[in-house]
Symmetry: C2
Amino acid sequence: MAYDKAFAALSDPTRRKVFELVSARPRSVARIAGELPISQPAVSHHLKVLREAGLVIAEPKGASNIYRIDPQGLAAIRTWLDRTWEAALDAFQAEFSIEKEEK
Amino acid sequence: MAYDKAFAALSDPTRRKVFELVSARPRSVARIAGELPISQPAVSHHLKVLREAGLVIAEPKGASNIYRIDPQGLAAIRTWLDRTWEAALDAFQAEFSIEKEEK
DNA sequence: GTTTATCATAAACCATGGCTTATGATAAGG
DNA sequence: CCTTATCATAAGCCATGGTTTATGATAAAC
């Protein structure tokens, strides 16, 4: 399941901040590191986790790496969300039906 | 931000499984523990995290506690998701506009 | 009131994970 | 080439977190 890694990747606040920056505009690693109070290796590591979760894509541009959002990751999360939501809805309906029958 | 705790709560696979069980049908703690290969205290702890994240609600029923889904938590995640998605969309459009101007 | 059942909390243990400083790899520029 | 810039990886450190066993608290049952 793809949403497994995606959820884990977004669990850390700093990593989620990195993802939000990349979502708002494609950026280089150095650029991201400059906007956050963490070192460059830390940013690289966060991006690696996001990359393996299918949330971002790296585009080599000269010596630097431009990171941009990968729509598939967010789509996976949305899928899980919708499925869980629907299950909850069915549960509510089933519960209501039973109460009705018990009258 | 409410989605902060919600994301962290769903980052663990086992805890996410607990949440899925509760979503599919309200259950007691013992019931959940019986369906998972972990101890009862572990389940209680997971439920506590989910509860503090606004993802589930506890309903005392006699000596047992019935847990059910709390729609607010999922709604919070969806809000973050939509917002991030929209930001990414704006970024794509902006990028495209710039390329057009550069012609 | 004394069990019995159900759940929460505490303590302890171990694994995971995020961060830093160093180091290596690759690509552009003089 | 040699330097410089940019990024990834490695090693090590410390904090967080998930799990278990043990224990306490509360509510029903007899």
